[in-house]
């Protein structure tokens, strides 16, 4: 009896699996920041007036601008996913580019904000800071660690989105080549294409020892630059989830550091 190896007709399970994995990963990110928020809560309770005074030194204007930028980037991120879902590749890429640029502007602002603080002599372990009260020291310690960690996440998010940009831009072209030793596992079977009702549309000859290589290739019309690879959509959705998480964390950081005066 000959066995058939069915390669085609995949139920959409892996996509859902990838999303579950992403959500679980986001839990871990939340808890990572959760530890910091816990420290913040304790020290804020211990030193409420010091936190108040220290926060007056932060530039609310820059913080507000950064909040608006990140919120906008979340909007463009969502639009990019929606555009890709509707098959509008150009719009999706444009929106994704705006998202990345927003991230970049955020980081540039953050850079100037931090360097200004350094010029005023405010950085961990500085003399100017050590002359101040304990609570203000802790405020700035938390400020640098939490916004620094957040900035790192923005940076990682930008890199992820840039990689996705390249993936989506490329014209899809799928190819797999299995050489003879990889085919050993399916010797004696046939390659077939089935539809959803398990009806065979095409079946190959027996896969035997003489088979040198098996190639499967999916090619698309060259002029169809807007053809979308549906796996990219799942990746973009996951990238979007991550970006929104980074955004949400900032939504909490902003009032906790800038608006408590």
């Amino acid at each position: 009896m000959q066995e058939t190896t069915a390669l085609i007709h995949d139920h959409a399970i892996p996509a859902q699996g990838a999303k579950i994995g992403m959500w679980l990963f986001l839990f871990t990110e939340l808890l990572l920041f959760g530890g910091m928020f816990l420290l913040y809560a304790v020290y804020r309770m211990l030193y409420p007036t010091d936190f108040h005074y220290a926060a007056t030194d932060l530039n609310v204007f820059v913080g507000t601008i950064n909040t608006i930028i990140l919120l906008t980037s979340s909007l463009t991120m969502a639009l990019s996913i929606a555009a890709l879902e509707r098959g509008n590749k150009k719009l999706s890429l444009a929106m994704l580019a705006i998202t990345i640029i927003c991230g970049l502007i955020f980081m540039v602002n953050k850079y100037f904000e931090w360097t200004t603080k350094f010029h005023h002599g405010i950085y961990p372990g500085s003399e100017a800071l050590e002359a101040r009260s304990h609570g203000e020291n802790l405020f700035y310690g938390l400020y640098f660690v939490m916004t620094g960690l957040h900035g790192l996440h923005v940076l990682i998010g930008m890199i992820v989105l840039a990689v996705l940009f390249v993936f989506i831009m490329k014209n899809p072209h799928e190819k797999i080549a299995l050489s003879s030793h990889q085919l050993k596992g399916i010797l004696g079977s046939r390659l077939s294409i089935m539809n959803a009702n398990n009806k065979t549309l095409w079946q190959s000859d027996l896969i035997d020892k003489n088979l040198k290589e098996m190639r499967v290739e999916l090619r698309y019309e060259d002029h169809k630059k807007d053809k979308i690879n549906h796996r990219d959509l799942i990746k973009l959705e996951n990238g979007g989830l991550y970006w929104h998480l980074v955004d949400i964390i900032w939504i909490f950081l902003f009032p906790l550091f800038y608006l408590i005066t």
Binding site: G21, L39, V145
Partner: protein
Amino acid sequence: MSTHASQSFLEEKGKYPGIFSWIFSTDHKRIGILYLVSMLSFFAVGVMLGIMIRLELIAPGQTIMPPQMYNAIFTLHGVIMIFLFVIPGLAAPFGNFFLPILIGAKDVAFPRLNLLSWYLFVGGAAIVILSLFTGGGPPDTGWTFYVPYSLRTGTNVTLAVFGAFVLGFSSILTGVNFVSTIHMLRAPGMKLSQMPLFPWTLYATGWVQILATPILSITLLLIILERVFGIGLFEASKGGDPVLYQHLFWIYSHPAVYIMILPAMGAISEMIATFSQKRVFGYKAMVAATLSIAFVGYLVWGHHMFVSGQSDMAVIIFSLLTFLVAIPSGVKVFNWVATLYKGRISLEPPMLFSLSFIFLFSIGGLSGLVQGALATDIHVHDTTFVVAHFHYVMFGGTGFAFFGALHYWFPKMFGKMYNKKVASVAWAIMFVGFNVLYFPMFIMGMRGMPRRYYDYLPEFQPLHFLSTVGSWILVTGIIILFTNLIVALRRNNRAPANPWNGATLEWKIPSPPPLENFDEEPKITGGPYEFTR
């Protein structure tokens, strides 16, 4: 049938030759064996360090090493045994190998992520080992890296902590992978309530890994930042609170205890059922106990800090919650014993390990209650009583379950059967050695022998001597055990597909399993423990 059914995953030639067919493989079975081999190598190092600690303590004063080296060695023993052996524990090697098979899947949900987590494991381990030979020498803080000492010591804490940080990532990825796998890839017809108990414990463990490990990551990151930049969040001279470090550390590290023990309990349930040839008594209660241990275990971290300065209210609540954990643990022990009742018990080596697990774990668990009670804890805190307690739980519990699981699944993993008589002898020697080694520590602790001390009063010497002799007996048993398994690998004593007459899915496929696990996707109709007579 087709030809490929006869070829096992061990014989299957991958894309790459030689060792690369292992370290580039995304097959969950190969990754499981990679974990097994790397973990056992670290275990061997940890055992040697443990032997050195015992040898130093055989007599008061300096015996074989100076005090600073002693501090470094007990730190390393802890770091290696905890982060590189019991935390990956049974989940990484046996979970990777058997989780997909037990739920009728071809692989885990994210095979490449799975390989990445092994890379991170080995990478983190390499960093930890590198920290011994670089910078200011091996860390001497104890495995807990408590501030303020860990911020001030000149030894290479920064690198060691970074290694543990990387290991945390590995653990998180494994957790994400297992939880997704259980949700997505169960065989058609297998409801959650039909899953064997080992996957259930991996599920609970996965959630603990996901929800607890990030707290350790941020805490370790803060240690690094404190050491490099001097931020002062844990530095009392800058207004920080060192006790907060302990809170953050134990918010992870207490749940981590359940990361270590839960998969062990799962494997014990499998073995007890198989070697009693009986359905597990109270399957649903077992599942509920697993989940509630994971949940309540998340809320008891404060019991490590009864003498560190918490409010009386906090201390009382943590003590109460600690006692609550004993209830589901007790349910488990009760159900194991009830499964044995009127079962057809066969005392094969894995069963010997399982039975001794129940015994040793009960001693470990009950001695835990002594420390969970506020009044007695003040007396035994930071004494060798604590050392004895967690060795009874972690070694007598997880360790014995690990060796039991190794003997239970060895024929399936490698397709070869070991000499059962020798294995039983090794078990007996280990069991005796274990108790001679650790039981005296209970007594010394009650009498006031502090843990981590280099020197001691002469009145403790007889018990210390006895304990050191126990370490020799134990290590003899371990050597016999592994020699027996290595000999079995070299001999050609083929194991049948189902040597123990097990009922779960792994026993329905050849030993060792073929690359794709199942020729046909299994269809599940009944519960996991339907034994045929």
